[in-house]
């Protein structure tokens, strides 16, 4: 094992490169599958999005649209950016701050019938917090009314 200094360094460089390469490999393969795009209801109406691809849908929960289904565990509601609306079904625990008229981000797939089947409804910890994507979607649709910087 009388490796020269240069050779030893080579061993470390090769090992380092292998680790880095492996890491990059994992990252690339995982990125492709797990990157989830965000769309507003207007995007869904205007663009033709492929079915069966996961994405996030965000906007406001339309007033009066929350409807608990008879099984007691599923809920229907409408996500709107005030120029377009998309119906959503979701089964599972709702975050505590899920309310009509509030910003919401949901994640799931769009079914052929145009209903968004969400498996995740993102919670927020603060009543004044608006997810940045939702705020931007509302600005794009020209319906933004909130103050620019909501204070705590």
């Amino acid at each position: 094992m009388a490796l020269k200094r240069k050779h030893r360094r080579m061993v470390f460089i090769v090992v380092g490169m292998l680790c880095l390469g492996g890491g990059i490999g994992f990252v690339l393969s995982a990125f492709e599958e797990n990157m989830v795009y965000f769309y507003s209801p207007t995007d869904l109406v205007e663009k033709d999005l492929p079915n069966n691809r996961r994405f996030r849908l965000g906007g406001l929960v339309e007033e009066g649209s929350i409807n608990h289904l008879s099984d007691g565990l599923s809920v229907e509601f409408v996500v709107t950016d005030l120029s377009a609306s998309v119906p959503v079904v979701y089964r599972g625990p709702l975050p505590d701050l899920f309310r009509e008229g509030q910003g919401v981000v949901t994640e799931g797939i769009l079914t052929a019938g145009g209903v968004f089947e969400a498996d995740t409804v993102l919670a927020k910890h603060d009543e004044n917090y608006m997810p940045p994507e939702v705020a931007e979607a509302l600005k794009k649709s020209g319906q933004w009314q909130g103050q620019e910087a909501s204070q705590q």
Binding site: M1, L3, R5, R8, V11, F12, V15, G16, C19, L20, G22, G23, F26, V27, S29, A30, F31, E33, N34, M35, V36, Y37, F38, Y39, R56, H68, D71, G72, L73, R91, G92, P93, L94, D96, L97, V105, E107, L122, A123, K124, H125, D126, E127, N128, Y129, P131, P132, E133, E136, E148, A149, S150, Q151, Q152
Partner: protein, 663 residues
């Protein structure tokens, strides 16, 4: 008056920090010892003024002085005292004051205990600490002053966000900040060494205790945050790979790497420039963590309302600190003399592998966390990178990390015999294979990685014990000889064994919760019984219960197994009238092997409640493991050789004299 005193003290602290940042630095350059000596009293004064500011703010919160905007917006007279105190740092402005308070405390400790540091190094370290303080104090004074008054004062405050009114989160920020700010010490030492162009083993010996302390606190801070998410959010999970969580995890990963490379720098006088780079990165990621949480640029389930102007300030600060220190590193690092040689298969080699893997793991987390920001800046598309990405990248990288963690400590410095080491680990390999087979049998191949994970945990746990037993020559020499060896073993050896066992426990907990969690979401009428994982949960109804500043609906469950009553569980749905906000309080019964976890959601028109019941095997071990890791860090810190004040005192002072020291 208190608010004005606090504000004034904060301004004074800012001015003192400016002096402490300039004069000692110039003095060190010109070898003017009077100017260098100025750093000591300045560090003391800075701590004093910031402590006064923090004390006045806390007084305002404790006495519910609603004429202070910050108190009016984040407190309420009906709040329990614990949360009045914790709301001092439960908001943006106050948390900054806590940050600089800890920073000043660390700086003062260098001034106090660093008597045997070379004066120039000490002056430079304190000056760099002061510049960090200048950055944060300016941020506080100019964009987030906590002492602003409100006229007329409201009758009552707007309450602390109810989610933060929780014992776990009351102490989460102080520990997290002790960790973040602790890395500022390693950073200051690194920059000072770069300015001096000299790094030696003594330097590493001074850096290691600070890093150890910071790492131990950060471990506890991250664990507390995760524990809070586990029981307060009521989703049954403990880690969501959310940007805010990742923000605290990245400094931890790099900090862990730093901890290990500093050992090589100290013991073998090599890997020095790498250690310095890690010190810079660890603190940069701590700053980035603050930025991510405080700026609100990323969609996070943990985000709170934020002010974009502040984000811009922190971003600018980040660019200066990270850009400046990396530039300095690029200029000065090549001039650092390389140290001792070592073969690829050796203790050093193992530690290098640990470093490379941890850094790679951190890089994948960084990419997943920041990519949405980059893409948004590039073409405006909004994306998110979810948990599957992190599981697919981070998980596989952790497998070799854990595998090597058992092998590394068995290898001697300089050159090792891998086959021999593996031979000594035969028992660990055997246990790991048995555990793997048992786990495989238990899950039936549904989650193929779960047996691997559990097997690795067993491998590491047993491997750490074997390494420890070998040091004592247990069963190979007389019991009294082993006992004598145990007493003379350095504390850092104990610390390492304990911390590595903690890692194994955390791993087992993570795998257990991912692979064997059982979840039942159902509707229950009072009197109804459901069975989850062999436990019978009987729902006895919901009762209204008043709280100090909320009203609660409390569900009552009896848990039985084979007819024996095991626990009563009382999950709550609380409503905080001031913020008009409901919260969920999960009820958890832990058997130390698994958690029984119950949440009530909503009452239906029929009178039934929607209920979620989870059985979370091995999850308690996550928190126990984190505490064990932090204990390992603390034990290692109490090692005589690492004591800041006495790096080289008598050879073997009695164990009684070596009292544990906080830093």
């Amino acid at each position: 008056m208190t608010a004005e005193i606090g504000h004034f003290a904060l301004i004074l602290a800012f001015l003192v920090a400016l002096v402490q940042g300039t004069l000692p630095l110039v003095g060190a350059q010109r070898e003017n010892s009077a100017w260098m000596a100025l750093a000591n009293p300045a560090a003391g004064a800075q701590l004093l003024f910031i402590a006064i500011a923090f004390g006045s703010l806390m007084t305002a919160f404790v006495t519910s002085d609603f004429s202070v905007v910050n108190v009016a917006e984040n407190s309420n007279s009906a709040m329990p005292m614990l949360y009045k105190v914790s709301s001092t740092w439960g908001n943006h402005e106050g948390s900054l004051i806590l940050w600089v308070l800890i920073l000043a405390l660390f700086g003062f400790m260098v001034a106090l205990f660093g008597g045997n540091l070379p004066p120039a190094l000490k002056a430079r370290v304190l000056a760099i600490q002061a510049w960090i303080a200048v950055g944060f104090l300016a941020f506080s004074l100019f964009t987030s002053n906590p002492f602003l008054r409100l006229d007329p004062p409201p009758i009552d405050g707007r309450d602390l966000n109810p989610l933060l009114q929780d014992p776990g989160l009351a102490f989460h920020p102080p520990f997290l900040y002790l960790g973040y700010v602790g890395f500022s010490m390693a950073f200051s030492f690194a920059i000072a060494a770069l300015i001096e162009g000299r790094v030696d083993a003594a330097w590493a010996r001074w850096v290691r205790p600070w890093t150890l302390a910071a790492w131990s606190f950060l471990t506890l801070g991250v664990a507390m945050g995760s524990w809070w998410a586990y029981y307060e959010l009521g989703w049954g999970g403990f880690w969501f790979w959310d940007p805010v969580e990742n923000a605290s995890f990245m400094p931890w990963l790099i900090g862990t790497a730093l901890l290990h490379s500093a050992i090589v720098s100290e013991k073998r006088d090599t890997l020095k420039s790498w250690t310095i780079l890690l010190a810079i990165l660890a603190f940069s990621l701590s700053l980035l963590g603050t930025f991510l949480v405080r700026s609100g640029v990323l969609t996070s389930v943990h985000a709170f309302a934020t002010d974009p102007a502040r984000g811009v300030y922190i971003l600018a600060f980040l660019v200066i600190v990270v850009g400046g220190s990396l530039t300095l590193y690029a200029i000065r690092a090549p001039s650092l003399k390389p140290g001792g040689l070592f073969a690829p298969v050796s203790r050093e080699g193992g530690l290098v592998l640990n470093n490379v893997l941890l850094t790679t793991a951190c890089a994948t987390v960084f990419l997943g966390t920041m990519y949405p920001l980059f893409l948004d800046a590039l073409d405006g598309s909004k994306v998110s990178v979810g948990a599957p990405y992190f599981n697919a990248t981070f998980g596989p990288i952790m497998i070799p990390v854990v595998a090597v963690t058992a092998i590394g400590p068995m290898m001697p410095w300089k050159r090792a015999d891998l086959a021999g080491v593996m031979g000594r680990l035969k028992l660990a390999l055997g246990v790991a294979l048995v555990v793997m087979a048992a786990a495989w049998y238990a899950v039936g191949g549904t989650a193929p990685w779960a047996p691997i994970g559990i097997g690795l945990a067993a491998w590491l746990f047993v491997g750490a014990l074997i390494e420890f037993a070998e040091r004592l020559m247990l069963f190979r020499t007389s019991a009294s000889d082993s006992w004598a060896r145990a007493r003379h073993l350095p504390r850092s050896a104990y610390g390492m064994t304990i911390a590595h066992m903690g890692v194994a426990m955390v791993l087992a907990g993570v795998v257990g919760s991912q692979a064997w969690q059982r979840e039942l979401i159902t509707l229950m009428d009072p009197g109804e019984t459901v069975t989850v994982a062999g436990y019978d949960f009987t729902f006895q109804g919901v009762r209204d219960l008043p709280g100090p500043n909320y009203s609660a609906q409390r569900g009552e469950f009896v848990v039985r197994r084979d007819g024996h009553t095991i626990a009563f569980l009382f999950p709550e749905k609380r409503f905080y009238p001031v913020q008009q906000m409901p919260t969920t309080e999960a009820a958890i019964h832990t058997t130390w092997v698994s958690d029984l976890y119950v949440v009530i959601d909503e009452q239906q028109d029929s009178g039934a409640w929607s209920v979620r019941i989870y059985h979370n095997p091995l999850v308690p071990w996550i928190w126990i493991g984190c505490i064990v890791m932090a204990i390992g860090g603390g034990v290692s810190l109490s090692d005589r050789r690492l004591r800041v004040g006495a790096p080289r005192r008598g050879k073997r002072a009695g164990a009684a004299g070596a009292s544990p020291q906080a830093a």
